[in-house]
Symmetry: C2
Subunit: 444 residues, 2 copies
């Protein structure tokens, strides 16, 4: 992409009403624009990161054996009357009346609808197990939307739903999602700690939140610091194998959100030097809730013994749009965002210090072509902005690598490479720069 | 994908209330499920095709220089009060009141919002030209939703918006989209004819609809049959070059929708043997409307002469979800869908005629692995359904190639390949089958 053709409306000034760094940086870097309270447009830069996050979430769901579909944003109210949540959900649910006076709602979550889909097609234990998921916009009418995309009203969520014959099998589905989430957040450059959590309005018996530690977190969390240091299971996990040991290794160590915290247990179980209390951002939440929805909605399956019983279910959410904020909270500095390469909006930023200078233009063009060919998704700043402004913009938008090219360096056969995360800069030949930036390790 | 793990709820019986073939086949093949009038879930098979269509539409927008972003589904009513369309739009607009009694609406289109985005960041002729687009769910509260996804209420649309200094430049943006649309529909396996059209509620001076000819089309259309035979411009078009000759070659021949039809001109301009009158399905619609939105919304740019004038705009829509229906209307037979390979939900269907037979299982597995490796996205029917049922399902869902493997054939070293579009079947060795199916021409 050439910057002269892109749409990147960076702001010179910090917006006064943005309270946390991710919100400020997303506005300043031209990633989002507020259209109404808690409702955002995703400008091209933000959209690119959103799509990359979505794709990683999708790949890890697929790897874990979940099947993707897409439910609509609007749902009939009657379905929620069946489960009993239509009245319970309160003012957070956006209720809508259509031209024929039928009650609709903008889905805040999809337990009811997926259960209705399941019950209309699946009747037998032979149809099990199944994990279905979708990545769709949801709406929750928060009384006080804030922190940008971290607590918006219209937000993108990945929600999965598992269907099993009994609790033991449902537990295996739960473990699949547990492990898939650890790998997902790891690929996104995040250290997410699974913590015992309250089940809240979803209900059920077993629940974990996946929490990123960050100063701006909304709630206090308590955990054994060994959990933070523990690596992800890795992409070569056999999801058809026994995942229980991987899960046990993490759930046997103390980790709890504020609501579930037991100070005495914390003190008794965790050595003092590993007792971590911090602020946390929830990026995922998983639930096993048995027959809470299948029983009232009549989603029964015939067991091998010939008897019909309600299917056992769980649900598993990742806040896809919220993750942009969480990643920025975890990866930024004074100058702007520092994207992990897996989700960076562009792989390499090429800065042309003197557009119009024939040699510089030619060098930038050849770098651009080579990086496109290598799949590195470069952004070429070919604008007539002054160099200082170009450096600031490239730092602000957080492209992982910069290739700085100008007539003075080229006379000596040199360009400059800058690594955004560390600030390291080094001068090399254009040829050597390209061989470094197109090598696979540059993609890590 | 293994069918035993997929979620493919095919229906044995034809749904009684589906009036057109695409609606019937989408229900029977387990592609969609109606959740409310005109509101559908996209089951995994339908979702796969939807995503492939969306991706082709995206690639051709990008190739034409359009920049992707994403606007929210909900919009503040005030924006539509500024343009004057809030009252005009009537009951098709889904109006919503949030918990703070603020008026929102579910966007039926995005002229107002994109103009508001433009005006808040772009002020100078130096920011032009720009084409911005998004692919987002829209809602139009049709009084009588029908024909499945062809006239739904919640539907997926790609809408682009162009911003230019004057009419001449706006016309170049119009031509870019005109040519991009021809290539898009061609890649989707559709013959779409551009026709002069009424501008309707969008307004403006210049408009073309892109129409697929099909017996089930909603409106009558009239055109020179030479237009139907004309090929697409091709993916190597230089979008920065002069596109006018490509556009003129198509707009100089007679083609008009019912509202714009002039019988006398038709008779005078088109030789009798080329006078085609047929039913048509609209799959795209492009508009140039000048300053219709920029003037009331105050989206002005400073011209080189230092004066501010409203920016010239156009908008360009493709009905992404509707395209599934249109493609089925164009490509099906008695047995089911016949997907063009570019949008097929799977590239090859492998039918295991005897799961449990060691040799057959091994042959299917090796075929599966080879096809996955070649990027052919195979579906392996490893279920215990009887062969007749497997053949019927694979025909119904319309996978372009079938690889039929059973113990009897394998004893003679043979498998069978079936080409869905023609019904041709031939027996070959497994090795030869795989070299044919993994070759690039199988992808065409």
């Amino acid at each position: 992409m050439r910057l002269s053709r892109f749409f990147l409306p960076v702001l010179k000034e910090t917006p006064a009403d943005a309270q946390i760094v991710s919100h400020r940086l997303m506005l300043r870097a031209g990633m989002i624009r507020q259209e109404a309270a808690g409702i955002y447009s995703w400008l091209p830069l933000g959209f690119r990161v959103l799509k990359k996050i979505e794709q990683i979430v999708r790949e890890e769901q697929d790897r874990a054996g979940a099947i993707e579909l897409l439910m609509p944003t609007l749902q009939p109210a009657d379905l929620w009357r069946e489960s009993g949540r239509y009245e319970d959900y309160g003012k957070e649910m956006l209720r809508i009346v259509d031209r024929h006076e039928r009650d609709l709602l903008y889905g805040p979550t999809n337990e009811e609808m997926i259960t209705a889909i399941f019950r209309s097609y699946c009747r037998s234990y032979k149809d099990l197990p199944k994990i279905l998921y979708h990545i769709q916009w949801k709406f929750r009418d928060e009384i006080r939307p804030r922190f940008g995309v971290m607590r918006g009203r219209e937000f993108l969520m990945k929600d999965s739903y598992s269907f099993d014959l009994d609790e033991a099998s449902a537990r295996r589905a739960y473990n699949r999602m547990f492990v898939a989430y650890l790998n997902t957040f790891d690929r996104l450059g995040l250290k997410a700690v699974p913590m015992r959590a309250d089940t809240g309005p979803i209900g059920g018996d077993l629940s974990h939140e996946f929490i990123i530690l960050a100063e701006t977190g909304e709630s206090e969390v308590f955990c054994d610091s060994a959990l933070v240091d523990m690596g992800a299971p890795g992409l070569d996990v056999d999801f058809d194998g026994d995942l229980q040991p991987l899960v046990d290794a993490r759930t046997s160590l103390y980790a709890a959100t504020e609501e579930m915290h037991e100070a005495e247990r914390f003190a008794a179980e965790v050595p003092e030097e590993r007792r971590l209390s911090a602020r946390g951002i929830e990026v995922g939440h998983i639930f096993y809730f048995g027959t809470k929805y299948s029983a009232p909605l009549g989603a029964n399956v015939t067991h091998p013994d010939g008897k019909d019983r309600p299917v056992h279910m769980g649900s598993y959410g990742v806040g896809v749009s919220r993750l942009l904020g969480a990643i920025i909270e975890a990866h930024h500095d004074e100058a702007g965002c520092i994207w992990p390469e897996s989700v960076a909006p562009f792989g390499v930023g090429i800065i042309n210090l003197k557009p119009g200078d024939a040699d510089t233009d030619a060098a930038c063009q050849s770098a651009y072509d080579a990086l496109v060919k290598a799949g590195k998704d470069p952004l070429l700043d070919d604008t007539h902005e002054r160099p200082g402004g170009k450096f600031a913009t490239m730092d602000l938008i957080g492209v992982p690598w910069q290739l700085i090219t100008g007539p003075r360096g080229l006379k000596e056969g040199k360009v400059e490479i800058k690594r955004r995360a560390t600030g390291e800069r080094f001068e090399v030949s254009l040829e050597s720069a390209l061989s470094q930036l197109t090598a696979d390790q540059a993609g890590k």
